[in-house]
């Protein structure tokens, strides 16, 4: 039997006008970004001019789209998931669910799958937009699939965070704001910590920056995991940073050299999600079970 919460939410979410509108806006936005990028690089009207098409532009376009999509996911997932439980509470339907014999695990998992399915719909629908770069080469299908997998794992972590905070806070607005703040801390906190460390310690003790050191600081940041997918040139700041990370990884002598940033961050995301889901299910229990008397 399908999880009833999943069944109901999928039915109602797909029935309304919100999902098609959100999907359309999302795709128009991605398409628009891609169009503007090609336009800015003089690649749109290439047949009408004598300029030869530059395949490196396609790779850069892929980077731009991938990054845009990643940032958009980070912005959309909290808005969808952080109302999962607090929304039920505000609507006064949570008690009707909790007074039944359904486990809080089923409620949380149902809500989580709905949120991820919603996000994956956006990602899968955007594949044709991403696929335009195939026309020009430079990116393999395998790379896109790996990135898709990374999106799923990151969405799982962000969704778990949203649901956990939605369980913790009674109001939708508080839960959404708290999720954005926590996500901001998770994404930028390690980077800021690394810079502070660099300013105060690295200069004083002249410690060489290695891949292990970098990973020790940055492993929770989704941006660090995304570094693996920035197939890039050194033409901009991100390209330089991501290439530098790749170089450090190649210089690493221990097993870490085989672990790319997306794997390490992905593993953290999975473990962190598991913890958040368990905490959410525990927190949602209205009555904590008492051991039976002897």
């Amino acid at each position: 039997m399908i999880n009833p919460i999943l069944e109901k939410d999928l039915k109602t979410k797909m029935r309304g006008w919100r999902t098609p509108v959100l999907l359309s806006i999302y795709l128009l936005f991605l398409g628009g970004v891609l169009f503007l990028f090609f336009l800015a690089n003089n690649q749109i009207f290439v047949y009408y001019t004598d300029t030869a098409f530059n395949p490196r532009v396609a790779v850069s376009a892929y980077n731009v789209i991938a990054m845009f999509q990643f940032v958009l996911l980070m912005l959309i997932v909290p808005a969808i998931t952080a109302t999962a439980i607090s929304g039920e509470r505000e609507r006064q339907t949570l008690d009707l669910m909790l007074c039944s014999d359904i486990s809080t695990w089923s409620i949380i998992i149902g809500k989580l799958i709905v949120s991820i399915a919603h996000i994956m719909l956006l990602v899968v629908a955007s594949l044709p937009v991403m696929g335009t770069v195939f026309l020009f080469g430079g990116i393999t299908f395998g790379e896109i699939i790996l990135m898709f997998l990374f999106y799923v794992i990151t969405a799982l972590m962000v969704a778990s965070l949203g649901i956990f905070l939605s369980t913790l806070f009674r109001k939708n607005v508080t839960a959404i704001i708290a999720t954005y703040i926590c996500l901001g801390i998770l994404a930028l906190g390690p980077v800021i910590a690394f810079f502070i460390w660099g300013v105060f310690f690295q200069r004083s003790y002249n410690v060489e920056i290695t891949y292990s050191l970098l990973t020790a600081f940055l492993f929770p940041s989704p941006g660090y995991g995304f570094a693996s997918f920035f197939a890039g040139t050194q033409s901009n700041l991100f390209g330089t940073i991501f290439n530098e990370i790749q170089h450090l990884a190649e210089k690493e002598t221990n097993f870490l050299r085989y672990l790319k940033p997306w794997m390490i961050n992905g593993l953290f995301n999975i473990i962190f999600s598991g913890i958040l889901i368990s905490l959410s299910a525990w927190k949602l229990q209205p009555v904590k079970k008492r051991k039976r008397k002897a």
Partner: protein, 311 residues
């Protein structure tokens, strides 16, 4: 069916439920009466497994709600005083969703939904969006939802609140139907007359404490030490009131509908003596009647001085 022993619920220093004890036998309907914030909803939420008690024991069918909450929840159907609905679901989808929540197989859902919508007279609305239903219909739908898993104990928190007189009558008819189905029901209401009509027993709660519990007649017998007398006089009402005030057996005196109403403690002999005095003083008595104290007045008397708060 339901046994509550020394139930306590505290919120910090505030005690919402204070050593509450009660018992409901199988097939009985127990009316839970109390002012707003007396602790009715808190008690009902604890029994429904939605609130952790500070101490005490709640047994449903002999099973402790804290030891086996999921087993107990299967036996309970709960209808809260305030509840929301999913606006974007149709009536039969709403029922189907809750059937799924209770793990009822797909093949059985249709028949159960048909039966329950029939019971609450909503069969003709099954394809309507829940949002389009009136308040009374939503209340009835919520009652049908609470019955979806065929619970043996029903907890109904103010099922008739906010309903117009017609919807109240309809709700009352459904509750009578449930009584005929031999369901054990714990029901709270402000409308005491409605409860006294259909309940096998009643509990009056004030400031978290059960101040009276038993059948309606028992409560009236136990607590109505005083009765009321109603005297109509043609004139000289002031003299009659003065004379009554001199009698030690007469308590508070009111004037209603040009008649004197007074609370009275004593037997028939004392009553006859009062009448005799009125007549010998030449007061033109038109009628002299002893009336029993109403359940409302017993309730008011018992809950006197209790403050209202939101629980």
């Amino acid at each position: 069916m339901l046994k509550i022993t020394n139930l306590v619920k505290r919120y910090g220093k505030f005690t919402a439920v204070d050593n509450l004890c009660m018992e409901i036998d199988e097939g009985h309907i127990f009316g839970f009466v109390g002012a707003n914030g007396a602790g009715k909803t808190t008690t009902m939420k604890i029994v429904a497994g939605l609130l952790q008690p500070t101490s005490g024991e709640v047994l449903v069918g002999g099973i402790d709600i804290l030891s086996e909450p999921r087993t107990v929840k299967r036996k309970i159907g709960y209808m809260p005083d305030f509840f929301g609905v999913y606006d974007d679901l149709k009536v039969d989808e709403y029922m189907d969703f809750y059937a799924g929540i209770y793990g009822i197989p797909y093949r059985e859902r249709r028949a159960i939904t048909d039966q329950l919508l029939e019971l609450v007279d909503l069969s003709h609305k099954r394809d309507f969006y829940v949002d389009s239903l009136s308040r009374g219909m939503k209340q009835r739908l919520c009652l049908a939802r609470s019955l979806i898993h065929n619970p043996s104990l029903l907890i109904l928190d103010e099922p008739a609140s906010g309903l117009d007189p017609r919807a109240r009558v309809e709700m009352k008819c459904i509750l009578k139907e449930l009584r005929n189905m031999k369901k054990t029901i714990l029901i709270s209401s402000h409308i005491l007359s409605e409860l006294s009509e259909m309940c096998t027993s009643i509990g009056i709660i004030s400031q978290g404490k059960m101040v009276a519990c038993g059948t309606v007649d028992e409560i009236m017998d136990k607590l109505s030490h005083s009765s009321r007398i109603k005297i109509k006089v043609r004139d000289r009402m002031e003299d009659a009131i003065r004379l009554l005030q001199e009698q030690p057996s007469i308590g508070k005196i009111d004037i209603a509908d040009s008649a004197i109403e007074a609370s009275f403690k004593g037997d028939d002999q004392v009553l006859a003596e009062i009448l005799k005095r009125l007549v010998t003083q030449g007061i033109p008595v038109v009628s002299f009647t002893e009336t029993g104290e109403s359940l409302e007045s017993v309730f008011m008397h018992l809950t006197e001085g209790s403050e209202e708060y939101d629980d």
